[in-house]
Symmetry: C2
DNA sequence: TTGTAAGCGTTATCAT
DNA sequence: ATGATAACGCTTACAA
């Protein structure tokens, strides 16, 4: 026997399909005896409602989509956790897709989620901020709005005041400012910034901006030699640091653009026989769980990961209530652990 | 204007809805000029098809569900990555839910996925193996089969020969045997096993069985004092190790039931002033990326995480082709790193 | 090559 | 309190 339908249940209970629907929805008075007969039939037939058919007539799929670079990065995973939890709490199911850093693929996925009639489409993590990509994203926001859905940018800056998108950011630039400022306050004057390639990437540019602003605030300028490229992973931190050391660039501290990068930085320094923090201070960004387990435990910038994900879903699903507040900026703060200390006397600025 | 439908497109292109459907599906001859008019109308109206409506008539939702304890554990994340990638590769979208270790909730979620008409429901990670839970899982497998869906157990043993479920396991017991055997071969005789609470949990019991079998294979018996409880996280490893040391239990090696547990073990040993591997050898299980970054880098058991996820989806979606092979057992192997060495002379067995 | 009509499983509307 | 009927947006016979 194929999947039973409301009709089958209705027949088994000796009632109409309408009554079955009412019992299941519980939004309409039904006599106790009828209800019981229906429920018994549901049990016997092992009936479950067809969510697609319900969505077709009812309007909403009660589905939230969640588009992310990878499932495996701890940062994304925690944001995803927040998205999934809030979605569940709001009685929604959660679709998940990964784009592996391919901006083109990201746009395709949004289209796919539009087919799926997701009530909200959450884009997690930074993205490109080229004019072209911003314009396309804005178009997508409008497309989604047209069909009653909502684009949510989570951990990415707004794409313009006219684009109908919910934005839940964290203070990326402020965190970079704070951690840089902390190192400068400790006495560091030659601080390297590892991972600065791709200035079009919103995360990269915001963090680098904070780094620069902190220097300016202290009347310092950033030596271009101390700013090196790479991406967001451990291997990049390792390679870039080796290169820095090989060049003999003078420095007393290194900021990795992410904790993963910083973990590679630590490895390269250890390999070079340099002690952290005695010889070189190291800081990261993201405060992923790993950072507390590194040796030495990593000074880093905390991001309210899970709250980002939760807020993204909450705002998008209640945009009637939060109509004026569809842009949220959550705070970041420096977490001081064991990888940072004042520079050695002979290096102090 | 609300979401445009095939009818709107048909009207705009001056054709029938059927023709629009045919153009979109591309499974039926349509004249080039008509096709172009339709495609232009699709563009102009910014039309996307309604996946629910299509599923309602077409039969399949092209959706795979993925039920996991948490999104954040690296082990689950990698398996999830495999599931998502294979699902995408097969043109499916991926639903994800978390149960946070609540077996009851897990069953509810399966029910929810049945409503969603998921083509396959992948259960990731170990579960309880109480007769009651097994029977309920078997019932669920049958329920899913009845509606054309499929239960997939990924990283969990079969629930009985009669239950219609796809099983993709890794050799949990074999890996535990191998790593224990390795430590014994190094000369260790007093090896602690941290994380053995919950013997009803399939993962716990399989790993503990392997541990025991390795001892037996060498004519050794396991001292009950060396087997301590706890769960699968870092904190547990830390606390249990502290307790072991406080009791003064004599030991030369410790196996953590997971890498996270082992990372807690390392922290507790470091705190106690014991060197790894000089004073105590430590091994983990799972080979999560973190394990290579610990100091010392952790000897552990490798699980083909991603392949587990991929195989789960592949087998379930092609069960006509793989009809005879709906039970896959993937191999595990020991990865030897720096946390294990022969015991010190004065301790050697 | 194209169109008409029926139907997928559910709910909302209007009767009774 | 319950039921008949239409409608949701799409595809798939069957016709033309």
């Amino acid at each position: 026997m194929p999947r039973p339908t409301v009709k089958d249940v209705a027949a088994a209970a000796g009632v109409s399909a309408t009554t079955v629907s009412r019992v299941l929805a519980g939004n309409y008075p039904v006599s106790a005896s009828t209800r019981n007969r229906v429920l018994r039939a549901v049990q016997e037939l092992d009936f479950v409602i067809n969510a697609q058919a319900r969505a077709l007539v009812g309007g909403s799929t009660r589905t939230v989509a969640f588009i992310v670079r990878d499932l495996v990065g701890p940062l994304f995973a925690y944001i995803g956790q927040g998205v999934e939890q809030q979605a569940t709490a709001e009685g929604r199911v959660c679709l998940v897709c990964t784009h592996h850093g391919d901006a083109e693929r990201e746009l395709e996925l949004i289209e796919l989620m539009r087919e799926q009639q997701a009530e909200a489409v959450v884009l997690v993590g930074g993205g490109l901020r080229t004019p072209e990509h911003i314009e396309r994203t804005a178009q997508i926001a409008r497309s989604l709005e047209r069909v009653g859905s909502r684009l949510v940018l989570c951990g990415r800056p707004p794409i313009g005041p006219d684009a109908p998108a919910t934005v839940v950011e964290y203070d990326n630039e402020g965190g970079a400012f704070a951690v840089t400022n902390y190192l400068i306050s400790l006495g560091h004057r030659r601080i390297a910034f590892v991972g600065a390639a791709e200035p079009e990437h919103t995360t990269t540019s915001a963090r680098f901006d904070g780094f620069t602003r902190a220097h300016r605030a202290h009347g310092l300028t950033v030596d271009a030699e101390l700013v090196v490229g790479g991406n967001f992973d451990r291997e990049s931190g390792y390679q870039q640091t080796k290169a820095l050391l090989a060049r003999g660039t003078e420095l007393t501290a290194i900021i990795g653009i992410t904790d993963m990068v910083a973990s590679g930085v630590l490895a390269a320094l250890r390999e070079a026989g340099l002690r952290v923090p005695e010889d070189v201070s190291v800081a990261g960004y993201d405060d992923i769980p790993l950072s507390a387990d590194l040796s030495p435990a990593l000074t880093t910038v905390h991001i309210p990961h899970e709250e980002l994900g939760r807020a993204a879903v909450r705002l998008a699903l209640h945009r009637d209530e939060y109509a004026l507040d569809q842009h949220l900026l959550l705070g970041t703060h420096v977490v001081i652990r064991d990888s940072t200390a004042p520079p050695r006397e002979d290096h102090a600025g």
